[in-house]
């Protein structure tokens, strides 16, 4: 399958300052990709290069097929920026209608209003919307062209918890339709929830370009703990190694939590407080940035 995005030896510098260099990655159709890194790691710059707002200092980016014109590419992609777009004294409906009018095969205005849950605000001026409503408007502007490829920059900043979870569901539904989605977010629980593929920028390089599961396995073991009055210190489990033992509390490092729990099956009557823990993306992120 041809990648939807290919980056080859991508480098961006501002004078002597290197933002990143020699990045190589591919994004396949239908992936949800999380782009993560500290402030100043180059996430926004990389996003701007992929969108075409900036040019690389060296290297190449290909979106869709090689022979597509910039205009054709614009028809197939949608972008949700962190900044709110708008015009003074323009209603939500007018702004979305303008966006829909720009594309050859847009979603209908009513569909966009429904997807963004802005039906009640349709006649309201964009400038009078709350922060979360403005984010939903941006979302609508990104979706208007029914794009194959979506770029989302901090999509849920300013949204309340309910809206955020609705948004995550919407992303998953779009992904189920085959859309490719690139997300940057400082809210790593969001990336953890949504992304399958992670691009992790640090020290001018991509330190991880692979699945979220691989990232977790690379930086974090799976730990299983339980309490039991039975002595397990001499028992050999195939899927786990005893890390620590204090009185009745046992701590095992395992390779597969499912298989280890299957091994524990026969002992379940004597086991209490069974817990499985693997570092979440937020913990891994902090671990990596602290240089562990």
């Amino acid at each position: 399958m041809q990648p939807i995005i290919t980056a080859q030896n991508l480098t961006k510098t501002y004078g002597q300052q290197i933002v990143f260099q020699d990045l190589n990655f591919q994004i396949q159709p239908g992936e949800v990709v999380g782009l993560i890194g500290n402030n100043g790691a180059g996430k926004t710059t990389l996003l701007n290069l992929l969108i075409g707002l900036q040019r690389p200092t060296a290297g190449q980016i290909h979106l869709f097929a090689d022979n597509l014109s910039p205009t054709a590419i614009q028809q197939k992609r949608g972008i949700m920026f962190q900044d709110d777009f708008g015009l003074s004294r323009v209603t939500v409906q007018e702004m979305l209608a303008l966006a829909c009018s720009l594309y050859a095969q847009p979603l209908s205005l009513s569909t966009v209003l429904q997807l963004t849950d802005l039906n009640s605000q349709a006649q309201q001026y964009v400038s009078k919307l709350s922060g979360g409503q403005k984010r939903r408007l941006n979302w609508g502007l990104a979706l208007a062209g029914n794009p194959e490829l979506l770029f989302l920059d901090e999509p849920t900043s300013g949204m309340d918890t309910t809206s955020r979870h609705h948004f995550w569901q919407a992303i998953q539904e779009l992904n189920a339709q085959g859309k490719t989605i690139i997300v940057t977010s400082h809210y790593l629980a969001e990336i953890d929830y949504l992304a399958q593929h992670i691009l992790f920028l640090k020290d001018h390089q991509l330190i991880h370009n692979g699945t979220l599961a691989d990232l977790k396995n690379k930086y974090s073991q799976i730990i299983v703990t339980f309490d039991s009055s039975q002595d397990f210190t001499q028992h050999n489990f195939h899927q786990g190694i005893l890390q620590d033992h204090q009185q009745n509390h046992y701590i095992y490092q395992v390779t597969s939590s499912e298989q280890f729990v299957q091994e524990l099956n026969e002992f379940l009557p004597v086991i209490q407080h069974l817990r499985i823990h693997q570092k979440n993306l937020d913990e891994i992120f902090q671990q990596v940035n602290q240089g562990e």
């Binding site: 075409g52 614009q74 920026f81 003074s88």
Partner: protein, 240 residues
């Protein structure tokens, strides 16, 4: 489709939904005109001269200051970034805005003509009022593009300063506020090169049924091409 949608939106937001601004934009040149007719009293010809100068000044004011203010407002709301990442081209945006601002200039001129005809009893025939309307409107095309081009020069307050630095000196040196023959000859030569001078004198030519002046029309044409070229060059910069 996109152009029609955008123009409808621009028409509503810049004119229909902006009544306070619209009233101010139309009323200020009328105010200047009435002040001038009170200061400089004289015969019919003097009244006509003042009327034409103030009409052209009205279009100068709105084409530079109003246009640049509105575009800066759109820029501050990241609309240029929206254009950069969607199929909406800057060409369509400027064309749409130009149409709306041309309409605004027509409204201003009509309002001035109504005040002149019924307020100050300026005795001109309907076809002369129409000639003034058409030529003053055409003369504003280059000014609208200049108003758009200066928005690339910096932030809002700087652009605002530039706008006022263009409008008032231009009004003075092109003879809109004071007769040019009161100025030093070197300044008169500069004034004669300005688009506002060309517009005023084209109007006088038509009203006095003088031969068509290619010189004046050519000056307006050159200013239009220069302004268009300046806008195209400026708009190729990166978006905010």
């Amino acid at each position: 489709m996109a152009f029609v949608t955008l123009t409808k939106i621009n028409f509503k937001r810049l004119i229909l939904r902006n009544t306070r601004f619209l009233i101010f934009d139309v009323a200020s040149p009328i105010f200047f005109y009435l002040i001038y007719t009170q200061i400089f009293t004289g015969g019919q010809q003097l009244k006509v001269n003042i009327f034409i100068s103030m009409t052209v000044f009205a279009t100068l004011l709105s084409s530079i200051i109003t246009v640049s203010n509105n575009i800066m407002s759109d820029r501050q709301q990241h609309f240029f970034r929206f254009m950069a990442v969607t199929p909406l081209s800057q060409k369509l945006y400027y064309l749409s805005l130009s149409l709306v601002f041309i309409f605004l200039n027509v409204l201003q001129i009509l309002a001035m003509e109504i005040v002149a005809a019924f307020g100050t009893k300026l005795n001109l025939s309907m076809d002369k009022y129409l000639q003034i309307l058409v030529i003053a409107t055409v003369g504003s095309f280059a000014l609208i593009l200049i108003g758009a081009a200066i928005t690339f020069l910096g932030n809002s307050s700087f652009v605002n300063s530039i706008a006022y630095s263009i409008v008032f000196p231009l009004a003075i040196i092109s003879g809109l506020w004071t007769p040019m023959n009161l100025m030093p000859s070197w300044l008169q030569q500069i004034g004669k090169l300005t688009p506002t001078y060309a517009t005023v004198n084209l109007i006088h030519n038509f009203l006095q049924k003088q031969p068509w002046s290619w010189n004046l029309f050519g000056k307006l044409g050159i200013w239009l091409l220069l302004a268009m070229g300046l806008l195209i060059i400026c708009s190729r910069k990166s978006v905010d």
